[in-house]
């Protein structure tokens, strides 16, 4: 009797256990490729193949190749490299030239946003920095700008000139005009105004004395577009600093040259 009860219990436990065992017919595909299907762009490889690199650069090794006809998801982009996932959930970096050889489900090629710096509707903002000689000292400048047309840009600039006897801060606003924005190396003209705050160093004159002045400037320069979003700049400026507190003191004239860079976003 005991033996029979024991066998029945064992049979019951085994059958309950079998109920919880996953069967092959119940299991569903659990690929990220399927789960995140609508979230990312899915394309078909129409070129010979896609090479998966381990990092976003040509120097990183190729670890996998996706052949023509297979589908891949494009996850995100960093510079000219795309993080891509294949049907077996492998992920790698593919360069732009190869991503261009893919097709969407409707047969169209992938719309890759790669605007030019002259397309001011897409990339109206620019930011950059420059450094150079202002009068007899070194000057740092950082600026942000907004282009209303390929030729006309409004700039807001902050300058700092730390010298032995004083620190000069300037906040400037100006307009930059580029007559030929389509040239790769192109000249520009600029004019603007702003305020300067000169603080004497405590080490030389005791307590720091602060002098505020208004500034006007004009200048010219060259922009060299390295690619669609980035450029180097070389420029020359003439400043006129007034003495608002003393009408009889002549204005101070300063010349500046500086080199820098800017990128568009």
């Amino acid at each position: 009797m005991r033996c029979l009860i024991g066998r029945l219990l064992a049979l019951g436990l085994v059958s309950i256990g079998l109920c919880f065992l996953p069967t092959s017919s119940r299991s569903e595909p659990n690929r990220r490729f399927d789960r995140e299907a609508g979230r990312y762009i899915e394309v078909t490889v129409v070129g010979p193949y896609l090479e998966f690199h381990t990092g976003a650069g040509r120097r990183y090794p190729v670890f996998h190749v996706v052949p023509r006809g297979e589908h891949v998801q494009i996850l995100f982009r960093r510079t000219d490299w795309f993080k891509v996932r294949d049907e077996r959930d492998r992920e790698g970096w593919v360069r732009r030239e190869e991503v261009e050889q893919t097709q969407l489900a409707n047969g169209e090629s992938l719309p890759l946003e790669d605007p030019d710096r002259r397309e001011v509707e897409v990339l109206p903002w620019l930011a950059g920095a420059a450094s150079g000689r202002l009068g007899h000292g070194w000057n740092n400048a950082a600026f942000i700008g907004y282009s209303v047309s390929p030729r006309l840009t409004f700039l807001l600039e902050g300058d700092q000139q730390p010298t032995r006897s004083y620190d000069r801060f300037m906040l400037l606003g100006g307009v930059q005009y580029t007559p030929r924005p389509d040239w790769r190396v192109t000249p520009f003209l600029e004019v603007g105004t702003g305020l300067a705050r000169v603080t004497a160093n405590a080490a030389y004159s005791g307590d720091p004395a602060v002098v505020r002045r208004s500034v006007g400037y004009y200048g010219a320069g060259l922009r060299w577009a390295v690619n669609n979003r980035f450029e180097f700049r070389l420029q020359e400026r003439s400043y006129l600093l007034s003495h608002p507190s003393s009408l009889h003191t002549p204005n101070e004239a300063l010349n500046e040259w500086k080199a820098g860079f800017a990128f568009y976003f």
């Binding site: 609508g38 979230r39 990312y40 762009i41 381990t54 990092g55 976003a56 650069g57 040509r58 120097r59 990183y60 090794p61 494009i74 996850l75 995100f76 982009r77 960093r78 510079t79 000219d80 490299w81 795309f82 993080k83 969407l104 489900a105 409707n106 169209e108 719309p111 890759l112 946003e113 920095a129 450094s131 000292g137 070194w138 740092n140 950082a142 700092q160 000139q161 730390p162 010298t163 032995r164 620190d167 160093n201 405590a202 080490a203 030389y204 720091p208 690619n227 979003r229 980035f230 860079f261 990128f263 976003f265």
Partner: protein, 232 residues
């Protein structure tokens, strides 16, 4: 004779009709037949329409936008050596914009604090620095280049993309109620932990041309930091 005339007449008529067939603009009936106006051609537009109208509805494919991930924000901590004043803890925040595959621009700000220090004034009297004057602020705007992209292996299965990079740019140091123009150069190592996060080790040298006392002297202010960055 009569039969010859008949043959000649038939030749002329047949040649004339053949010629007219090749000149449709001289043959008004041909035009009517094309537009369906004559009795022999189709009489209305309904005759030309296909029996079954194909119902073609173009499916609008909405393509998700590809996210750009070119901006990197780094928070780092380490040590700053201010020449002649010692080495002190520092924290930095850095914003990087990746322009090209191996090329980036970045701006950074940092803060540190010197311990009790003093400088000698122009008249020779020692001048202790106040608490505010002992704060060191620095900023830099640099361009960087990945010189050695590679991989780092942790165990047999885990590997991370890495890069050794160099940076150069300009900036300024501010301490002791004085500011110093400070061009800088540096070397860094980046380990991409995931798509979003990276770890950095950086060494940078901000060079100034004078000291707090006013003496013309090239000082090297070396900053070593370890940081964690997030890509946006």
């Amino acid at each position: 004779m009569e039969s010859r005339l008949r043959v000649l007449l038939l030749i002329v008529i047949s040649a004339g009709l053949g010629g007219c067939a090749h000149l449709p603009h001289l043959w008004p009936f041909h035009r009517h037949a094309k537009t369906g106006q004559t009795g022999t051609g189709p009489t209305s537009a309904t005759d030309t329409a296909p029996i079954v109208e194909p119902e073609i509805v173009r499916q609008q494919v909405k393509v998700p936008r590809i996210r750009n991930s070119n901006v990197e924000i780094t928070a780092s901590a380490g040590l700053l050596n201010v020449e002649q004043y010692g080495t002190y803890p520092t924290i930095d925040v850095r914003g990087t914009y990746h322009i090209k595959e191996r090329f980036f621009a970045e701006g950074s700000v940092g803060i540190s604090k010197l311990r009790a220090a003093s400088y000698v004034n122009a008249d020779g009297t020692p001048h202790p620095l106040t608490s505010n004057q002992r704060r060191v602020y620095d900023y830099a705007i640099d361009l960087g280049y990945d010189v050695l992209p590679g991989e780092a292996f942790f165990g047999r299965k885990k590997s991370f993309a890495t890069a050794v990079y160099v940076v150069a740019g300009m900036g300024a140091l501010h301490y002791g109620a004085d500011s110093f123009y400070a061009p800088n150069i540096g070397l860094g190592y980046r380990v991409l932990l995931s798509d979003r996060f990276a770890a950095h080790i950086d060494v940078r040298d901000a060079v100034t041309q004078r000291t707090l006392t006013g003496a013309k002297h090239l000082t090297n202010n070396i900053e070593s930091t370890i940081g964690l960055s997030v890509y946006f």
